[in-house]
């Protein structure tokens, strides 16, 4: 059995579950207060955040052997980069429009 599988020891797994559950609560709390008018940028911003999958694709790429895994890694890196770069840029474009107006309430 190889390294990656071994690191998923019971201890590591339990810690990960702990982080998973607490993060789920954080996600719920943080988002439940967002006003409707910002829901579209929010969806788009959250979409950009899961673009972190590009890191996973990079980790796969770093240890790739064999043509099949290399192809998977390459496609993963491309798709992950589209997600993360496109996500942040499009969100920024939307939010640019929410800049403050002189006659607007804060």
């Amino acid at each position: 059995m190889n390294e990656a599988v071994q690191t998923l020891s019971t201890e590591a797994l339990l810690q990960a579950v702990f982080v998973f559950v607490l993060t789920a609560f954080v996600g719920y709390e943080v988002v439940s207060k967002v006003p409707t008018m910002l829901h579209t940028p929010l969806m788009s911003g959250a979409n950009a955040v899961h673009g972190v999958i590009v890191v996973g694709a990079m980790l796969v790429a770093a240890s790739s052997e064999g043509p099949l895994r290399i192809v998977l890694a390459l496609l993963g890196v491309i798709l992950g980069t589209i997600n993360v770069v496109g996500g942040f840029v499009v969100t920024d474009r939307m939010l640019e429009m929410f800049k403050r107006r002189p006659d607007a309430k804060p």
Partner: protein, 471 residues
């Protein structure tokens, strides 16, 4: 643990904190942009650090660095061009396609991990590893094809109508059951590679089968849900790779996408189950066709409509997708400025699901420099409609449909709506008498207070602007 591992741990921690703060800052328009940039910076730090440790500092790391040299520029070019070129009206499908890319990436990462470890002799891979890998692969795949179909429906490439056929639910159920059974076999009996490929193929088909029967009007909810799915798939790969950056970011999006989906369903007064399996919009289409014959529609010309508004006390503008399609938001702003200059009180009534996404109208009107304190949410403005001289409905349909209040047979019965029919006059700008996106008949149009101004929304508003200037 080496020093490098410790630094990596803290880099992931910093990244995770910026992701949480980024979402938190989105709660206010003042800080939202800063939040997004903060999260992007955190992301860049994480990606940069992984590049340094996994490729530059690791022995033999440079042998596959070409994958990044090719993949990152290609992905970045597609992402930037797509994000910059897309018109604001097409934002929902853009989010859908970026989300699909993320889901696809998660499935690929899970598949690559499985293929590395599978087939290495008789011993089965650990159950926890297999469960996480299979979840990443199946949810990522569903999100990938589902997002593509959602994109197609929003873009008009795939029919926006619910696509159903006899037994479609059975097929979807069978796909789901097949995936479950294969998943159990793959985990407990054999780590067979061909079986895994069948498993992924079923998941890809399931994504298509699950989204096709859902009507175009419900796509925002679907995009939000698929966004949440991709988050969960990413979290699963975080378990597979034991990587906390993936785990935290994925879980955060999974949870936030989940609650956002709930909020959207609540705004339409429907359950998620109804959205996903109700094939919304098929029954309504038939009703609309039958009822259209005996409607009495009164038309108004732009000059008369302009005079009505110019000499009114208060005008409430109700924007909808029609305004977005016609790119009329700038002209609408101009109309607002002219009316305000004449002493007319102008406000905008924003239904939570107006347009193709919640907040869609806010984005468009903000783009046109409409101050956001003039944009009122439904609960805030509904009591004001009786005081309005004119309710000007620009390309909105279902969110103004009084049938939602009274007609128990209407598919949207019970959905909270904007009470435009309580205004003194209702002027509806509409391209034609065709039924709305959801395919439901709207009795508002035959209401005696209602007059219709047919044509492209921008041309109509331009005519109103000219009319107000002349009045």
């Amino acid at each position: 643990m080496t020093t490098l591992d410790v630094v990596t741990f803290f880099v992931y921690l910093v990244g995770s904190v910026t992701f949480i703060l980024g979402l938190k800052f989105l709660a206010s328009p003042v800080s939202a942009r800063r939040g997004n940039r903060l999260a992007a910076t955190g992301m860049a730090i994480v990606v940069g650090w992984v590049f340094v440790t996994e490729f530059l500092l690791r022995e033999g790391g440079l042998t596959t660095v070409w994958i990044l040299a090719v993949g990152i520029p290609v992905g970045a070019a597609v992402g930037v061009v797509g994000a910059r070129r897309v018109p604001m009206t097409a934002m929902p499908q853009m989010v859908a396609i970026f989300n699909g890319a993320g889901g696809g990436a998660a499935a690929l990462v899970a598949a690559a991990e499985f293929l590395r470890d599978a087939g290495g002799g008789g011993e089965l891979l650990p159950v926890t590893f297999m469960v996480a890998t299979l979840l990443g692969a199946v949810i990522g795949s569903v999100s990938f094809t589902g997002s593509i179909i959602a994109f197609g429906k929003l873009q008009g490439i795939v029919s926006g109508r619910p696509v159903t056929y006899p037994g479609d639910k059975v097929v979807t159920g069978a796909l789901l059951a097949g995936i479950l059974v294969l998943g159990v076999i793959l985990t407990l009996v054999t780590n067979s590679v061909p079986l895994f490929l069948v498993f992924v193929a079923l998941a890809l088909v399931l994504g298509v089968a699950a989204v096709m029967p859902i009507g175009g009007a419900d796509m925002p909810v679907v995009v939000s849900l698929l966004n949440s799915y991709t988050g969960i798939a990413v979290a699963a790969t975080g378990f597979v790779l034991n990587n906390y950056a993936l785990l935290v970011a994925g879980t955060l999006v999974g949870a936030s996408g989940g609650i956002l989906t709930q909020l959207m369903c609540r705004a339409m007064n429907r359950s998620l189950f109804n959205v996903l399996f109700g094939a919304f919009g098929t029954a309504g289409g038939a009703v609309a066709a039958g009822a259209a014959g005996d409607q009495h529609i009164r038309e108004i010309n732009a000059e008369d409509a302009a005079v009505l508004m110019a000499y009114g006390r208060k005008v409430i503008i109700v924007p909808g997708y029609g305004m977005a399609v016609a790119q009329a938001q700038q002209t609408v702003r101009e109309l607002m400025d002219l009316l305000i200059a004449r002493g007319v009180d102008v406000e905008f009534a924003i239904h939570p699901v107006a347009g193709r996404m919640p907040g869609h109208m806010n984005v468009l009107l903000a783009e046109a420099n409409v101050p956001y304190d003039r944009l009122k949410e439904m609960d805030e403005i509904n009591d004001d409609f009786p005081n309005a001289t004119v309710a000007l409905v620009i390309g909105a349909n279902d969110v103004t449909n009084p049938a939602a209040r009274t007609d128990t047979s209407s598919p949207i019965y019970g959905m909270p709506i904007l009470d435009v029919d309580k205004a003194e006059h209702v002027i509806v700008l509409k391209r034609s008498m065709a039924a709305g996106f959801a395919g439901i008949d709207n009795p508002l149009y035959s209401d005696p207070r209602t007059t219709m101004l047919f044509g492209d929304a921008r041309k109509s508003v331009e005519a109103l602007v000219a009319g107000v200037k002349a009045a």
